[in-house]
Amino acid sequence: MNVLEAMKGKAWLSATLLLAGLILLPFVVEPALGKSWMRIIDFALLYIMLALGLNIVVGYAGLLDLGYVAFYAVGAYCWALLSSPQFDLHLPFWIILPAGAMLAAGFGVLLGTPTLRLRGDYLAIVTLGFGEIIRIFLNNLNAPVNITNGPQGITLIDPITVGGFSLGKTQDVLGMSISSPHMYYYVFLLCVALVVFVSLRLENSRIGRAWVAIREDEMAAAAAGINTRNIKLLAFAMGATFGGLSGGLFASFQGFVSPESFNLMESIMILCMIVLGGMGNIPGVILGAILLTVIPEALRYTGELQRAMFGQVYVDPADLRMLLFGIALVLMMLFRPTGLLPSKQRKQEFAEERK
């Protein structure tokens, strides 16, 4: 799993091919499948960032966080408040995107500090409560002083704009007309690359090993001289940063945020992505995020399929979707608890435990 190792020899070739493929992808998808699929791919990229962020907390450090969506919300609202008619502020993206990520990191530490002594199940319920508290505050900060507009949400959020070039509308570049989802795709791709890079570097660093040590046995880790408090806070802050980053991107891409986008189900969904894909393993997490974003959209067509075959829809595709999710989660844990693409280390641990 070493980056340097992977980059030896033929890996360079496959990396170049992958890069070329990813850059050219929208030119194939958009004419063939339409802009709506471009949007779906954009959302898949957003979820990859979120899942990789949560992966640091849950996958590496083993801290079960059920309120992760709170950081996503903090990032999104930070962008929405600083770049919309709400307060008539229109700060440039290179200020608010880092600001949102930093603010989210701050919230990560805020959540982490009181929960340092908590483990497992207790931590899960407290983080869940934290996520709800953030959402309830966003939903209620419209009175007595109107900050977030409450349940009405914030509209007309500015898109990313670079020197008068707005990513919010179709632009002509070198004679080609490039749509807004297409341009956002590149921005998101760049951010995903950054997040993957940081994750990879962290995984193989002292910090990454410290996280794993804490996950496996906190007391032993402390005995080995690891400052468990700082390392745990770092995990929360790091995960939250990625959440805040994706939140900001979400707000600018969508142009509208409201508290209903940041409910508990969203946190659980992100958790499902990393569990399904393979906790602690970057390619696995990416796979999980892609699958869980794309499958529901693909399942949309089962409704049409049913209508075409039986003349009516017997089972709602969306109902089926959640039911299948639930069943998949249970089966996954029973038969492949390490996920579709498990990390090498976890696979070994399991093999040992099963002996």
């Binding site: 496959s14 990813l22 499948l33 699929w37 471009m38 796979l287 959209e297």
Partner: protein, 384 residues
């Protein structure tokens, strides 16, 4: 896995493969055979599916009737086709769906159901110059964003709130207000509060709950201490019904008042005997008072069963859209959009014409009272 890069490429390929499964034929805006697509979007799954399907049915019935009349637009016979998509009442899904409708080449959209889904999609439609008529979004913000393409055939929160607030003030001088902290409930409650005060009555309490709660005894007790004459609730029937029950359990015999969210058959079913005496409003005229109303109701019930909530509005929205196309003599969005602004149409829900923002110029609002398991018409109010 040897290389993470390889795995990522695999993952992407897999994602793409799945994407390809979803491949669909591309529709041209105005096909050679004169088929014109009109989009409809509402939640067709999830807790509000029955209301979303109702909108779908309303729009479909209108389009079926229009097609049966063999319309000729721009010198060519035209057949309309409804493209219905499920937005799951979720803002994110709604924008994907909106984009899909645009991709499919619809010339206009009837939708969405919820304000939360309508507002973010209005940007997508505006960017692509596709006219949109929402049959049921009430949030003021929807038409206040300055998009030329956003219209609605439903009164907004301010219009309905004004009528409800004035009515509440007429019922008693002390009004307590509860909302469910959703975009709909909070928006309506806020406007009602303003109108109550404007009418010279007093808002003695403002309390909040949420759209999943079932125990309201704490806030009701607190309200009881302030001895209001009227309790107004901005929210939906699953909360309204237990709320009125608990009011009676606490020995509060004050008038319960609500918006269109509780003016449903389900409210009466859930509240049972406690529903008697509850007053709720619904935008538009009662169907039996409209020239085309009873006829519409008969046809709709024969085809789809009981009207849930907004089917008549979706029906009118579709007619209004086609009406504008006929006057412009074109189905091209750019051509008929200016005509949409000049709409003057006699629908089943009332007379429809738009102001500069895309809101209804005159929205009559009817008040109903629950009596013996039915909603009886009380009176229709014309807002000033």
């Amino acid at each position: 896995m040897k290389s993470p890069l390889l795995t990522i490429s695999l993952a992407v390929a897999l994602g793409l493969g799945l994407t390809a499964c979803g491949d669909k034929k591309e529709g041209a805006a105005d096909g050679g055979n004169g088929t014109v697509k009109i989009g409809q979007s509402s939640p067709l799954t999830g807790p509000q599916a029955h209301i979303g399907k109702d909108n779908d049915n309303g729009a479909r019935m209108a389009i079926d009737e229009i097609n049966a009349s063999k319309p000729v637009i721009g010198g060519k016979p035209v057949t309309f086709e409804i493209m219905s998509e499920d937005d799951q009442a979720d803002p994110k899904t709604a924008t994907i769906v909106a984009q899909r409708l645009v991709d499919e080449g619809v010339v206009g959209v009837i939708g969405h159901l919820n304000s939360g889904a309508t507002i973010p999609t209005s940007k997508v439609y505006s960017d692509n110059d596709i006219p949109q008529i929402s049959p049921s979004a009430t949030a003021i913000k929807y038409t206040a964003q300055g998009f030329k393409t956003a219209y609605r055939v439903m009164t907004n929160d301010a219009q309905q709130g004004k009528v409800l607030g004035a009515y509440a003030a007429k019922l008693g001088k002390k009004v307590a207000i509860i909302d469910d902290q959703t975009a709909y409930g909070q928006g309506l409650a806020e406007e009602v509060g303003k109108a109550v005060q404007a009418a010279g009555a007093e808002v003695v309490a403002t309390e909040h709950t949420n759209d999943k709660a079932s125990d309201f005894t704490a806030i009701l007790t607190s309200i009881k201490g302030k001895t209001p004459d009227v309790v107004f609730f901005g929210g939906m029937d699953p909360q309204g019904a237990p709320m009125v029950k608990q009011m009676h359990q606490l020995g509060m015999n004050v008038q319960f008042l609500g918006g269109d969210g509780i003016q449903t058959p389900k409210f009466i079913e859930l509240a049972g005997a406690d529903a008697d005496g509850v007053i709720a409003s619904m935008p538009g005229l009662p169907l039996d008072k409209m020239p085309k109303g009873p006829d519409f109701q008969k046809k709709f019930e024969a085809k789809y069963g009981q009207i849930q909530l907004y089917a008549p509005y979706a029906y009118d929205a579709a007619y209004v859209m086609v009406d504008a196309m006929k006057r412009a003599d074109s189905t091209a969005p750019a051509k008929y959009l200016p005509e949409l602004a000049n709409t003057n149409y006699e629908g089943v829900t009332g007379k429809i014409s738009f102001d500069a923002k895309g809101d209804l110029t005159s929205g009559p609002i009817t008040l109903y009272k629950a009596q013996g398991g039915k909603w009886e018409t009380l009176e229709t109010v014309q807002p000033q």
